[in-house]
Amino acid sequence: MSTTPEFREHRYVLNMGPQHPSTHGVLRVILEMEGEYVMDPQPVLGYGHRMHEKMAESRSWPGFLPNAARMDYLASLIYNHGYVGVVERLAGIEATPRAEYIRVITSELNRLQSHLLWLGVLVLDLGAFTPIMYTFEDREKILDILEDVTGSRLTYCYMRVGGVVRDIDDKFIERTREYIKWQRSRMPMYDKLVTGNIIFRKRVEGIGEFTPDLARRYGLTGPVLRGTGVAYDIRRAEPYSVYPDFDFEIPTETGGDCLAAYLVRVREIEQSLRILEQALDRLPEGPFLAKVPKKIKLPAGDATYAVESPRGELVYHLTADGSEVPYRMKIRVPSFSNLSILPEVCRGMLLSDLCACMGSLDLVIPEIDR
């Protein structure tokens, strides 16, 4: 690769991916190795590239929603949220208050299941099989709840411009409350089984350390950034939807290593549960879908809508030209920037640590490839 001036003889190239257990999808990392040390990891992207941005230019405004759901299969509702948000912002449409609450509730459930999956997968990358089964058990409860209201389990297409497609009922609220109680009762177990495990801690402590400044240079966002001590969360920094109504913390750690990112995410689970509780308590009555014209034409101009996905800052930047289709849609995905730090941070690392590092970045490859 171009970053290494000369290819040294005792180095060899290890091709990790596109099919590899630790790359979580079709990511390929070309590793230049010296023994077990990774001297130069170079990610190769695009194996799952579908050109969503081009597809957006040939679809009507609501027609792009299913595409939005298919970029990050673990945070479809948050992608939904961002998309309807940017269309509403440009069109000047206001969603009803109840719809905004429902959006927050479903988004937070979505965030929880993403974090739970990540928790299991990170530990799986480190060689422990059992925790992923536990997190899947928790996650299954969320998926069941969301399936009842949205109709699908993974690639939700639930939100609409002006609101959501179906109202939530008392049963949903009751089940979500039950789930919150259940999840709280499970967290001490994870603390003991994973966080307190000496091997786990030795595997993630001090691995992949970076500073807030390095994170800034690479545009890192999300829990990875918060692991360096920067309390930056779009839900607080540029509040959207009804997030200003809720009382929640932005967990931060100062280590900047894999352990810090891990701790931040685990603590975010609790914060999401808090948001959920408050949203369920204050859920306003009213229509769940605002009156919106059937065929939406957006005025010429552009708008940005940033939301906090489980992996960081997700930005939709939309340019409209007054017609029924977007003129240009730029989607800024968090994992894209988060992964770009890999060659810098993982140089000179052991292969096992690279797996830990990629696990703690919480990559979703279809999101990177779009």
Partner: protein, 174 residues
């Protein structure tokens, strides 16, 4: 006990055959890896001979040390040194071939001379295996100084190897 006798003979020649097979594999192999594995086969044959000659302890040590340690180390060295390129070694050419033939011939002559000139004492008929006890006594009483000296030399060799292996650059950027 005629069956025993025949079985013993068969096993003896079987081991001899194994040694020859392993030896041939070692010298004929074009890949270093195959050569080392041939050596392992020959070692197992030698261990069989020890066993056959009534010294199971020596046989076990032969397997444990020569197959389990020396061969593994050699294979390890081959893997590290030769990396994954597996083009075979070229056959020996003119000059080298003469050198090889000469040194082999010399070795053969020397060995034969030694064999012929040694006055072999007839091995005492043994009941049971006391080779281990005997070995232990010789190592720790009669030859204790030589034994300890060898271990010191080995220690120095290991230290030297470590120093040579580590010297070029510190690999882990801390």
């Amino acid at each position: 006990m005629i069956v025993y006798r025949y079985l013993a003979e068969c096993i003896f020649f079987g081991f001899i055959a194994l040694i020859f097979f392993g030896g041939l594999l070692t010298v004929r192999a074009r890949l270093l890896m195959h050569a080392v594995l041939g050596l392992a086969v020959a070692f197992i044959g030698v261990a069989g001979l020890f066993f056959h000659l009534g010294s199971p302890f020596m046989a076990m040590m032969q397997v444990l040390i020569y197959v389990g340690a020396v061969c593994v180390m050699l294979v390890f060295g081959v893997m590290v040194g030769q990396a994954p390129t597996r083009t075979g070694q070229p056959r020996l050419t003119g000059h080298n071939r003469q050198l090889a033939a000469g040194s082999c011939g010399l070795g053969f002559v020397l060995l034969t001379a030694t064999l012929v000139r040694t006055r072999w004492a007839a091995a005492a008929e043994r009941v049971g295996d006391f080779s281990m006890q005997h070995l232990g006594e010789s190592f720790l009483h009669r030859f204790v100084l030589a034994f300890e000296l060898i271990s010191v030399i080995l220690l120095i060799a290991i230290l030297g190897a470590i120093i040579i292996a580590r010297s070029p650059e510190e690999k882990t950027p801390s």
